[in-house]
Symmetry: C2
Subunit: 624 residues, 2 copies
């Protein structure tokens, strides 16, 4: 049995009848799934029946930190939030850092499961074992930062940690996120799931500490980890100072920074206006997640014109893409303004920006006219238009209602063959890496159980040239199936389940991530793991998530990419001429399914594979 | 010697050399000035030489709560902030409630005096006796709510209390205020004084308690006060529920709600769009100052159009006037949006709104054209224009630079005889009571030592019909000098010096305010006071403040009103035909000066009067 790390208790909250109960965390749960996304996906598979409406009362939301969260391990204050995604209909899972994840553990819980639907706007205040269902009618309609403050004041506790939704979640935008502090559980529309449950916020406060299985082993492991951070050749001072916006320059130089709804990658040149150095001119501070020695999160302050005085935590690289290059904006300040506004409205910055880019392309093509845009000039690069449409999306006002559910739903509503301009996979909008010239990224977007998701198997080998587990050619197709599986399984286990920050893997322990997790597991929880067993947790979770999707009707045909990327070669820049043709993708998919031990024709896990992974119940559920 | 209430210590902070020191609070200071504005004005008179630049290093700022603050007395968590006003050149003093005032006492101080000028943006973090001067370069440019949060995070203490300035104070707008939480030390441009000192914020935290002189007497007095609140015929449920916006309906019905830069009082009819019931539709909560049983401060959430989702604490009645009727706006939501924006920018809502109204009248008269307004259509009622100009004022951008120092400075800069449209006294913009039909209010605006200030002697007899100390006719001139002196002295002593909320006097103990303060003084501080002695503190402070102004060169000629109010009778509404002619004002002034024991010709305190009030040093300073 685990002797530390886990509280051993899961809190189940039923909003339909305002009750809560404590459940035990079985050891096999810890052993097979570690925590975080593992716990979430296991509960999702077991408890959510096929075909339910993600915005109905039968969906659940699982808030799960990991075994190291709150235990003093650096970079572990993260939580996974899991439910059926209203944007994709597939597994919806996203993570966030900050202080909230640690507070869940301090309150004595390994996970919080929210089910049912409240009959009126509600927030749930959790103080250790004490769970109160409180009227949130007065908070309904508030922006996320105001909401957090109202609740803190109401509970007379400025140290309570709150995660909440904004107007976007209330209006069931399928791009709505969940905000805690200034951070987002960003993607897959989980904010709309909260909205559909009339759940405005969770507030949490605890006074427990997290037990450590072996203090001696823990001290050794922690010291080794901190040394690995310190020794990282890329982390200090560059990355720690600049954060992810550094990637803008890199992808720009490589010719893989998507621009103007992916129609102008390599051609849109003002990277210098939005890249590392431009961002640095706006930096006024940074924030650290709980126990983080890096502090990659930057406070930036807009300085010019109508944006002067607007502060944001961010924008990270993805937001520089989504409110910058992909909408044709080449200046920092409007990106800062849009990032802040999206956080306050509770909108995923990637999906929102890409959806606006989609609308902009339709406007430039004359498919949307001023009549459909409520009189707004939606030309690429129009920052004021972007900000106005963001608000409209969150409130489902006019054009905003058309766009509120993302590019795929909007294209289907608009018709006229516009689906080809919807830059999404499985309904999830593409992150900011042009996969035409980053083939493993392409395969990752196509096969991630969440849709186009850079966080589910990020191919850092292609972007940063990291030669782990081997050196790769980003244009090549060879072995990209094997590489993608490694990326997906390692990252799922060490980052999504053990809920540690991606920078741990990317920069501190890239070659030994599973060993690191195994060592920490033994030190913190007392459970013995080999690196291979850690990796297998990643494989198990990817298989179970895929099984969930298969049960929902997803097939190999859904593991695809937008037509544009398979038919329009890049016309300029450092990746000129590159394209990811359908036959190339098919070739990579064949390799991928085959190495996964899945049925190559359908892209479905086999009974043997699932059984090998102690997922026989999933095979049974799929009637394999 | 005092045995409770006072900490006995004043903190003096010198920004020029980053030092601080503790000074003793002499008993005669407590006895002669009680606290709050009394302490501030005493220090101002003693320490600020005549003729200094209010925005230079020789000005001071005194943050002073009162003896009851932090002692558990309801409605006493208030502080006066005093300095030489950059807007008027006279005494600048304004109060604010909230939690900050109590925290000053918890930190062990009766007052904090800030002097000198930092050589770079600075904030001062005070934890009890520990005073740290911290770099605020990164906070410079931030909005007030963000600034507070940045500092709390930086100090790793969510319970630290912060008051700060926004961009308006940094850009030395003479209408800049100081914000703590969502509350303002609103008027007279004291935010610009902080800005001129490179002082972005004060952060304070304490763990002391405030001693009580006599627990038995204190319990009796506190109970009696709470009973008086409970028994108030107007306080519950109406006022407690609606707050000051109730006054909108009342003044509208009386025909004294100024509209369109005071050109349309009684004619501008959509009071129903901005009054009590309209406001109530936006109410989502309320906030209490520390230990306040009333909670008049309302949280309101805008619901429509581009304002949806904007939350504010307010608007109070004055802001309903300044961002509503006086700028010709008849809807609640833009007022909410402007109130929030002004708080974030750190702008006094009254002065900012009246200054925009002034510009709107000039625009409608063709004196300002689109060329001077940066292309903005400044017609009365244009809410978007108001919001854009608010931002421009705070950043001194274009037209905003012309308006940033208030109506009088703007009129002088614009020329063309526009001073007659500047609705101000001594440079301070008029609050929302049309004094043409509220004669004591008129005399109050003319004689207040701060300029046109409804808080320095509010004639509640004229608005609410309160027959204390006697029944009055609001149109009549008779005895308005005597009434104004009573209002000024009672309110100065019981509200400004004892730093208790105006509603204490207006609603709980209108007839016995001085007795109430005397009783509390004995119970809390152990100092014996008669009601007459309390009243004399008010008289003393009004005399000393006047002496300061006289020393600065103010004369009877400055105790006047805008020409419009003396020449243009009201054309419609419940006060149709009323005007406050110059000869009427002069008649009231004669009575006022005479009863004050001042020289009627010059409006100057006499040596005898000052000496009687133990202010011989002031007489000497004035060479009387």
């Amino acid at each position: 049995m685990y002797s530390g790390g886990y509280a051993g208790k899961v809190l189940r909250i039923n909003l339909s009848n305002s009750t809560s109960r404590e459940e035990r965390l079985p050891e096999e749960m810890a052993r097979d799934f570690i925590g975080g996304a593992g716990f979430g996906i296991k509960h999702l598979f077991d408890e959510v029946k096929p075909g339910i409406d993600p915005l109905g009362p039968d969906n659940i939301l699982v808030f799960a930190p990991g075994p190291f969260t709150g235990a003093g391990v650096p970079c572990a204050s993260r939580m996974a939030v899991t439910g059926k995604s209203p944007l994709t209909g597939a597994v919806g899972m996203a993570l966030s850092g900050g202080e909230f994840p640690t507070e869940i553990k301090y309150a004595g819980w390994d996970a919080i499961i929210v089910e049912g639907k409240a009959d009126k706007p509600t927030y749930v205040a959790i103080t250790g074992k004490d769970v109160r269902f409180r009227d949130a009618s007065h908070c309904w309609g508030t922006l996320t930062f105001d909401c957090q403050q109202i609740i803190k004041n109401e509970l007379s506790d400025q140290n309570v940690r709150v995660c909440c939704i904004g107007p976007a979640g209330e209006h069931l935008s399928r791009m709505a996120c969940i905000i805690n502090e200034r951070r987002a559980v960003g993607r897959k529309g989980l904010g709309a799931v909260m909205g559909s449950k009339n759940l405005k916020a969770l507030a949490i406060r605890g006074t427990d500490t997290v037990a450590i299985g072996s203090e001696d082993k823990y001290k050794t492991a922690r010291t080794a980890l901190l040394m690995a951070f310190k020794d990282s050749p890329v982390l200090y001072p560059e990355f720690s100072h600049h954060g992810t916006p550094m990637v803008t320059d890199l992808t720009g130089a490589m010719g893989v920074l998507p621009a103007k709804n992916w129609s102008a990658t390599g051609e849109f040149v003002p990277v210098e206006g939005i890249g590392r150095d431009a961002q640095a001119t706006r930096k006024v501070g940074r924030e650290h997640c709980h126990e983080c020695p890096v502090g990659c999160s930057q406070l930036k302050l807009a300085q010019t014109g109508p944006y002067a005085g607007i502060l944001t935590e961010g924008p990270d690289f993805e937001t520089v893409y989504s409110f910058g290059s992909v909408v044709g904006i080449g200046e920092v300040d409007p990106i800062i303004a849009a990032d802040r506004l999206a956080d306050e409205l509770g909108l995923d910055t990637i999906s929102a920006g890409v959806t606006i880019a989609f609308a902009m392309e339709l406007f430039e093509k004359g498919i949307l006219t001023l009549k459909e845009t409520d009189g707004i000039d939606l030309s690429f690069g129009n920052a004021e238009a972007m900000l106005r449409v963001l608000r409209k999306i969150a409130f489902r006002d006019g054009l905003g209602d058309v766009l509120a559910d993302g590019t795929l739903a909007a294209a289907r509503r608009i018709g006229k063959g516009t689906e080809k301009y919807a830059m999404q996979v499985k309904g999830l909008e593409l992150p900011g890496y042009d996969v035409r010239a980053l083939k493993a990224h392409g395969l990752g977007y196509a096969t991630s159980y969440t849709g186009a998701d850079h966080c589910r198997g990020y191919a850092f080998q292609e972007v940063f040239g990291v030669p782990i587990p081997w050196q790769v050619d980003r244009f090549a197709l060879e072995d990209k199936g094997k590489l993608t599986i490694w990326n997906q399984d390692v990252r799922t286990a060490t980052l999504d389940c053990a809920t540690m920050c991606a920078f741990l893997l990317d920069m501190a322990v890239p070659a030994t991530a599973c060993q690191n997790t195994a060592t920490l597991m033994e030190a913190v929880t007392g459970l013995s793991f080999t690196p291979e067993e850690v990796l297998q947790v990643g494989e198990r979770v990817n298989n179970l998530a895929k099984a969930f999707n298969v049960r929902e009707g997803f097939t190999r045909a859904d593991d695809t990419l937008p037509e544009r990327l398979m038919t329009e070669p890049l016309r300029a820049g450092g990746s000129k001429g590159q394209v990811l043709r359908r036959q190339d993708l098919d070739k990579m998919l064949d390799e991928y399914y085959s190495l996964r031990g899945w049925d190559v024709k359908t892209g479905t896990p086999t009974r043997e594979k699932l059984t090998d992974l102690r997922l026989a119940y999933a095979a049974a559920a799929l009637r394999l």
